[in-house]
Amino acid sequence: MTKRDEPLARIEMLQGTLDLIILQTLRWGPRHGYGLVQMIQSTSRDVLQVNTGSLYPALHRLAKKKLVEASWVKSDSGQRVREYRLTDAGRKQLAVERDRWELMSDVMARILAPRQEGEA
């Protein structure tokens, strides 16, 4: 229902990529949920719209798999926030996922290369 109001330029996230993005983003240090959203959006120069509806389930899913761990900390503004940090297992998983992603995007790039489509 929120989609209608989104800028057309924004694209929806590909299935299964959210986990990778979260892991990658957490590589720079612990973040709380809202921080993650902000960071992802700014990194992608606002092109990627993170659907919070899937962010929290994804975070909890990663926590359950012990790829990230969560703890309550005081934020700079003194608010109690739940921070997620990458675990060693998460770091390893990130490497695996990134390799796979690179392979995938490479393949996709080749398939979609305009020359081979014979277009003008």
């Binding site: 229902m1 929120t2 109001d5 709380h32 949920g33 809202y34 659907n51 919070t52 509806g53 899937s54 929290y56 389930p57 975070l59 909890h60 899913r61 359950k64 608010q79 109690r80 926030v81 739940r82």
Partner: protein, 881 residues
Amino acid sequence: MIGWLRRRRLESTIDEEIRTHLEMAIRERMARGASREEAEMAARREFGNVGRVKDATRRVWGGLWFDGVVQDIRFALRQFRRSPGFTLTAFTTIAVSIGLTTSVFTLVNALLFSSLPGVHAPDELVALYTSESGDPGVSSYMDYRDFVVSAESFSDLTAFKAREVDVTTASGTSRLEGLMVSESYFRTLGIAPAAGRFFLPEEDEAPGRDAVAVLSYDTWQTAFGGDESAIGATITLNRRAFTIVGVAPPRFRGTNLVTAPDIYVPMAMQPHLMPSSGLLLHRRGWGGIDVLGRLAPGVTIDRAQAEVDLIGERLVSEYPSTNTGREYSLEDFRDATMPFGMRSRLLGFGWILMALVMLVLLVACVNVANLLLTRGHSRRGEVAVRQSLGATQGRLLRQLVTETGVLALVGGAAGLAIAVATRGLFTSLPLPFSLDFVIDRNVLVFATVATGFTGLAFGLAPAIGAARRDVVAALRTAAPGRLRGGRPSVADTLVVVQVALSVAVLAAAGLFGRTLANLRLVDRGFEPEGVLTAQLDPSLQGYEGERIKRFYLDVLASVRALPDTRAAALTSRLPGSGSDGTSISIEGSAPADGQRLSMGFSIVSNDYFETMEIPTRAGRAFSEQDREGAAPAIVLNEAAAAWLRDLTGGDGLATRISIEGPGGPFMQVVGVVADIRSGSPREAARPHMYFSFEQIPGGQGFARMAVLARGGGEPERLATGVRGSIEAVDRTVPVIDVRPLESLLGDIVAQERLATSVLAVAATLAVLLAALGLYGVLAHAVARRTSEIGVRLALGAARGSVMRGVLGRAMALTGVGLAVGLVLALVSGRALSSLLYGVSARDLGTLIVVSVVLLAVALLAAWLPARHAMRVDPVIALRAE
């Protein structure tokens, strides 16, 4: 519990996490210059449906199921509190129908599954029957001994025979139910003594040598106050002192459901317990013994049967004179707990009853389904709101299923309670045997399954319907339906089903009612009313030979001399107490291929037929001329006369019959009397012959006889006189069972009475439920169309026509249901026909009455909603719009 706490913590974590997320988002937007309101709106919009996100996040952790169920149940209970009318109706419907079904199942269970109390591993037990020609029955003790020696399929075999014994104490002589048992009896049944010991092998060796006895627990309690000192004490049985060696355990009641033994003695004591019969144990030709075996580990009944067949063939070749034509069969021992064939008959009856009450359960399910459907309709708004607040389709469905589940569960529990409470009704039934109507595991399983089935049947369909409802469509007001015509709704269909099923049950109840009435009118061939009976056995007090006959003739004269006695007689067998049989030869007619003929008989004094008021059909009954020394005479019943006519082709009256082989001596048939029916009137009479007591020389007669006395009024009034006149002959001979003949015959229509009352309850319930269903559907329709009716009335429609509209719809639904139900009744009637008497399963009268009753009830059920529709005030109805 721990899981639940963890879940609570997770819940608050997610709540707080999302709250802080939103707060941060709002703060940031406000920092960028938005107003609080704008910031909040934007943040929420960006976040999406909070409830749904929380739900999805929680679900990541799994284990949500249990958590949700508790929540659902709480919600369900809240819902029930909100609509007490619906809840009460649904609950009562479920409780009563499950109660009824479980009750009837308790009856079937007692017959089918329950085993004898106290007996170890009854599934391993088999009954060994002997058949010569006709029904399998009791076996020969000599054969039994051969099986004990040869058969390897059994870990143990036991033989036993019931026989009453006279017990003499300081206060006089009374009679107890005795059981002669082989020394293996208690071992075979796997029973340990409550006190003392059971019989030793050597105590069952020499005929009449070891006078030892085991008491039943009840006898121990009543006669000895449960005192241990009873072990080693003596008890006088048939004038001989027996040493008590042990006591059977409390719950053990023998293996026969009809009579429980009071005292056990070794089989070797047979000559003492049956003094007039001599030593029967060494006569291979004599049957009369019950045999039970316990299958050896791993042996199937089929394998054991094969071995028994082999041994049987060997016995025929070894003892051709006695064993030719003898066959042995192993049967489920439970069949041996009742007179032959009775259990399977009762079971068939039980299952049909069960099937009929299951129909009622079905009607109940349909009814509750309909209630739920109606309610689902009025809950459309609620469901839609919850859906738009983030409840998923599955979540909603689960909530609705939980609601019906709770309803079914609570109703089922109450139903079980009803079944437990009404159990006493079965126990008080005048059945000719004792059954354990226990609420055991089987009954609990049944009630649970019935409850589960009920919950699914009535719950799922409406629940799916409710959850599937389109949100948008539901948020609009319910589309107005029509009172007449149009596509039939699901609710309409359900009402039709209900009516149809109740017609079937009602028809069955009607047919059983007719059967009961017909059976009561059947001519029994004799008049038990007004006859008093007493049983005697002077041989137990030392009488022998001619003295026995003298004793009875004196007793007869003494009873006859009583002023209140109009007629008196003797008989060796009272009607309804079984029959003695003997092989017969017919003069001048050799039976084909060595076939052996046998017939039931009884020895009666010459005025027996007059006393019993059994009419003579041909020839003459016994009279003064039939006395010792005169030409021996036989009187046949009609069945015997017909049978002999078929055999010889001639007139039954001219026949001469011998019971001592084809060489005679022969006795002349002098007359034919009416068949008497002592059992169920639906059973055909068996061929039977009567011998004259007066003609039989003393000593060859039976020592056990019953005295019959017919008085003017109530037979009980004769009791003191009869007892006194017998005691005047010899007060040492105990007079047993002084009671009216009618009470002895028992309630021959007990089964039909039971069927009729159970079905009456079932049918009433089914019809009430159908009426309730019809009422519900109509009331709901009228309520929903109040405005439509208002408009029509405002436009000038006659109130009568509005009312006719409602009634018309009621009659249309009932009519269709009735038609389907009548077809159903005709089809299912075929299954009933074996249980009916004097009425066809397609009895037109019954079906008409059923239809009229049903239509009347339907009209009544439609009346209230119809009147309500007629009284709609157009002004109020239109204003509500």
